[in-house]
Amino acid sequence: MSSRHALQGQLSPSRGVHGKPGRGARVSNRLPEPCGTLSAAVARSLTTEGGSRPAPRPSDVRTVDDPLADRDFQLALWMLYELHYRGFEEVPDVLEWDPLLLAARAALEHRFEEAVRALAEPGADPGVLAELTRGAASEPPADVADEVVRRLVDMTRGGAEGGAAAYLAEHATAEQFVSYLRQRAVYHLRESDPQSFVLPRIGGPAKVALAELQYDEYGAGRPDRLHQQIFARGLEALGLTTDLTTYVDEAEAETLASVNTMSLFALNRRLRGAALGHLAAFEATSSLPCAKVADGARRLGLPEEVVDYYEEHVEADAVHEQLAIRSICGAVVAEDPRLAPDVVMGAAACLAVDGLAADVLVARWRDEPIDAGVAS
């Protein structure tokens, strides 16, 4: 491929962000660069030693118009969520349960959840949600579960990011393809981790099925098949860093919103139904698009490691879709029908928020002259 060298030159692993010297491919868990009042307040509260730590106040959060498109808002929330995953090198681990930070997170989450529900509502169909709420109180649990399974199958016939996959398959330049990988890296370098938080919050057959799905995501006993690792190998084959913060620093608001939606659902036990519905929609709209993305990677002559990641997901997600819709969501609703409306809302949220993130990228690509695309 003729542009391969140019691509690797532009995107060498040692390249820093914001003009700073690079910190090497393996450095991880550095705090991202704040980009506004909220993220700066969070960064300060994470790094100020002793004394008062000024977390963002609820009044700061209320001034945000559209949290889903507000990068500062999403970055602030992402940093607070990250304390529950791998944390940051320069931040003491004990701050994960710091009451001031939890209060700040709650204020951001409240505003975020409102926005996610508002965006998801048309796709979930308020009439259906009301019907499921009524049904949960009066109908046999197995019937409610069947109805949820039918809804999930119907909702996922299209696809969350079908437009992006089709563009990548047929039109994208190598630079545009790489810009897609760089956005997606924010999720894929932590792939499936949010859903692991749901395991201890459910029981019975749904728990067994979720564990079965996660086992596959985590390599099914083979470290080299850990999905996060397969994605990282693709980045390395392109000469790109596997440092998550590098990608967070350049992520769009909507890309951060996509991963924050998963954390919102997964880290709040009351939203466990939404987390599982989200998982079902994610898996059920993955297999066909991944085949297209793999086609695009082959068309552009990208390394086999990149193709491998998407090929793996064609087969894996055809299995996971069945597990997630029937064995996980069906079973969890059969056990607790009150979760039915949230399962459907979570699925609609996945389609809407991930659709938004994909739309932003496709709109940018379509505006770019075909030879002038430069990954940011």
């Binding site: 079965e212 297999s287 087969e315 894996a316 055809a318 299995v319 879709e321 597990l323 029937r326």
Partner: protein, 61 residues
């Protein structure tokens, strides 16, 4: 682990606990994940595995 088979309505056949699948040409495909989905609609581009082609509109042939 004993093998089990589950038919998904309108979808593939899930197989747990298999070590290999022999397709209709006699070719043997090793099973590399705990659960595999086998194509039932015969439209998969990755037979014997399901690739979700059953969800795509049918093409006139």
């Amino acid at each position: 682990m004993t093998a089990s088979v589950e038919f998904c309505p309108g979808g593939p056949m899930l197989v747990r606990g298999a070590t290999e699948v022999k397709d209709d040409t006699g070719e043997v495909h090793p099973v590399e994940r705990p659960v595999v989905a086998l194509c039932r609609c015969r439209r998969s581009q990755r037979k014997p595995w399901c690739d979700n082609s059953h969800k795509q509109p049918k093409r006139k042939t």
